[in-house]
């Protein structure tokens, strides 16, 4: 603790209705270091950062910047104090030019000299090696460049603390290297960088120190070189999950004996490259790969969520056409979307209405489920899945993430699907619920339901799936079964045999 502490957060608490998102978290950042903030989805990383940037107001604790006690009231306030953030989802204005995005919202005169600004912006862009022109419309730049423009903005604001929230998730390798170079340069200039990411290799490549959070609590702070990767993972995940054992080989044999339920050849959509895929009755398989590898896009194509361009599909051996979600549902396919808030829940509708929605659609508009019937369904599934809700008429938006996910699961289970696609069903939910969902998947498989499971957490997939389809750069690059189903092999295949 000899180094100068730039930022210290002590005992930070943040409460949301029904959830304690941060429970007395400590965090400290030194001058000129890259500090990785690690934790699973739902560990509280985003909340901590939003507290630090003034998006949320903390319910307890203190923040010190350069030794002074500070209160951060708004994003504007944070910026003025020298705390800049680049968010995962880009928070610039696509309808303005690059230079405007770099300078807007900062102290300036009432009249804007575009030429001066553009010149200055070009200088910064050139210095940082960002391939963009200042006069370009931001919306016309690639996502990576937009991200870098956001960083350029922060750099030019002489920030003391730079927060990068998942900056690499939409970048390719070259762009990542460019970003890392930028980060190292800034570190050299004495900027403290908080780096949030999912990619472990990147943490070890660039960071000096790691803080791990789990379930809204601090696990610990470590020097990167003193913490082996395996230990980091175990600290992030915790020990509780070890009770579930891998599926045995006998399982494979049982599955191989079953008929093929769904088969696609050369299936492609506006988002997904052509691919082949099949699943047997009662099989649990999974798509894995990094974010943006095309795993979600592929399952969306199976469900007809994006516009399907080509390929042949058979369900139970019969050729069928699935171009819209409703057709997939008619063939007994259910799909739990990756983005729960955007594509899953209907927030203002009640738990009951959310649960019966898919079944109602399958029944058709002229056969409404009666009130008493729907109440019975809702009660049944609230009990079966142990959904924690005040009542069945509570708006689903006010439930916690895990319970929202269970409601959507209930929605699909109610349709009694033959094939269920679960895209990141455990993202951002607590460990207990994760376990429940994994158990549920295995139980469904035993009952003969086919399940395709996608998760960012490889461990989770290894525990549930008997076959893993590995994707890289929007193509399937490998299929792992049996003995090959282990962390090393998966990582190797994802990385392309080199890792």
């Amino acid at each position: 603790m000899q180094e100068e502490c730039l930022l210290t957060m002590r005992g930070i608490e943040k409460r949301f209705p029904g959830v304690l998102a941060l429970n007395g978290v400590d965090f400290s950042l030194r001058k000129g270091e890259i500090h990785a903030l690690m934790g699973e989805n739902g560990a509280g990383k985003s909340t901590l950062i939003k507290v630090l940037t003034g998006v949320y107001q903390m319910d307890g604790g203190e923040i010190r910047l350069s030794g002074e006690n500070i209160v951060i009231r708004s994003p504007e306030d944070a910026q003025n104090k020298g705390i800049s953030t680049v968010y995962q989802e880009i928070t610039l204005c696509p309808n303005l030019t690059v230079s405007e995005n770099m300078f807007i919202g900062r102290k300036s005169g009432f009249v804007i000299r575009h030429k001066d600004r553009e010149k200055r912006a070009d200088e910064i862009l050139k210095r940082l090696g960002i391939p963009a022109r200042s006069t370009q419309l931001l919306g016309n730049c690639s996502l990576a460049v937009q991200q870098m423009v956001a960083i350029a903005r922060a750099v030019d604001m002489q920030c003391k603390v730079l927060i990068l929230d998942e900056p690499t998730s939409s970048l390719d390798d070259n762009e990542v290297q460019m970003l890392f170079k930028l980060m190292r340069d800034l570190r050299g200039q004495g900027v403290g960088i908080i780096f949030v990411t999912h990619f472990l290799e990147q943490v070890y490549e660039v960071s000096d120190r790691i803080t791990v959070l789990r379930n809204g609590e601090l696990v610990g702070e470590y020097l990167t070189e003193e913490l082996p990767q395996v230990q980091l993972v175990s600290k992030m995940i915790g020990k509780e999950l070890e009770e579930l054992s891998n599926l045995g080989d006998s399982e494979d044999n049982r599955i191989m004996a079953q008929e093929v339920f769904y088969e696609a050849k050369g299936l492609s959509s506006t988002e997904a490259m052509p691919f082949d895929f099949s699943i047997r009755k009662g099989e649990v398989n999974g798509f894995t790969g990094l974010l943006g590898s095309g795993r979600s896009e592929s399952v969306r194509a199976i469900f007809g969520a994006d516009k399907v361009n080509g390929g042949t599909v058979t369900v139970k051996g019969k050729p069928v056409k699935i171009t819209r979600p409703v057709e997939a549902m008619k063939h007994g396919i259910g799909y739990l979307a990756e983005d729960r808030k955007r594509d899953g829940i209907i927030a203002d509708l009640s738990v009951r209405e959310n649960i019966i929605l898919a079944l109602q659609v399958m029944n058709g508009i002229f056969k409404p489920i009666s009130r008493s019937e729907s109440e019975a369904f809702a009660d049944e599934y609230i009990k079966a899945l142990n959904i924690k809700t005040a009542s069945r008429e509570t708006p689903v938006g006010s439930l916690s993430g895990g319970n929202q996910q269970k409601v959507i699961l209930a929605r699909w289970l109610l349709t009694h699907p033959d094939y269920l696609i679960l895209d990141e069903p455990t993202r951002g939910i607590d460990v207990g619920t994760k376990l429940e969902i994994q158990k549920l998947v295995l139980k469904l498989a035993e009952e003969g339901v086919s399940v395709t499971f996608i998760s960012s957490e490889v461990e989770e997939m290894l525990r549930t799936c008997s076959r893993l389809i590995v994707m890289r750069d929007r193509h399937i690059v490998g299929e792992l079964t049996g003995k090959d189903l282990n962390q090393t092999q998966v990582m190797k295949t994802i990385a392309g045999g080199e890792g």
């Binding site: 708004s74 309808n95 804007i112």
Partner: protein, 343 residues
Amino acid sequence: MKNLLKRKEPLTDTQLLMTITIGIFCIMYILAMVLLGGGFLRAQQIFDMLNDNASLIIVSCGLTIVMIGGGIDISVGAVTSLVVMSCAIYLNKGGNIFVSVLLAIGIGLAFGLVQGFLISYLEIQPFIVTLAGMFFARGMTTILSVDPQKVTHKGFLNLHNNKEIRIRWLGHRVPNGNIIPAEMEFGVVIALIIVIIVFLLLKFGRLGRNFYAMGGNQQSALMLGINVKKTRFLSYVICGFLSGISGYVFLMHTAAGNATNAAGMEMNAIASSIIGGTLLTGGVGNVIGTFFGVMSLTTIKKIVVSSGLNDPWWQSITTGGMLCFFILLQSVVLGRRQKRKNK
């Protein structure tokens, strides 16, 4: 040369939509000159269009600002009407001209301040707030006077009667050889100055750029450190202020207050803004486009009259048709752009 072309940025949505509007306006006007001739060949035609629509131009500028910021204000026509009536009555009671101008601006600002406060700080839906504003202004107008109020104030009438600016070289020759100069009202000058000021504000003003940022993505604007509430508040205040000026310009044009003044002006202003390429979703738009939006709307009406479609319904039916054409065109153009970008 090639290098020069290469460095040019592709048109932004704002520029693209504005270019389309100006292009279509020019084509329409040239076609009218060629096919209909007559009045369209005289410069006075354009001045007439400006004279009749000076206040609409001013109101549309204000509305464009609000719409760029992602809001809507449907009270502008009613506020204009209230200003006309109040100033007419005040002048008839022997008021001072200077004070009457202050009165006009004061009324406009008051509406802007109250509506802006309700919308920005109490977060009430702008449509409802400005609808109430519209009701209130219309009601107040009739409470002030149901009967038309012809202004009898001498000083004002002098201003009203001598308000034209005569431009000889743009005039036209009548059969007896005399030249009738083109006439432009003083209100047009005010309108054009306002167009230029608002254009500069939106292009070079810090506030103006904040309007675009707020309309483009409110969340982003907040994250970028813009005080969104204050910015939104100011957009309504400016709009109210311009409605006040618009009312005074209207009075200078008619020299009479009437309860039905500026009826339907809010919808004309919205239509003009849309034709000019301002999107109701916010973040896209330009007052130059709005100006040409007003001119296009007027031109189509003039064309309908000149081409002998004398039945009273043709004007609004063609206006509706043109509106439909523009809205669909914009939807298709922007839709295709979006698709290309995604690829």
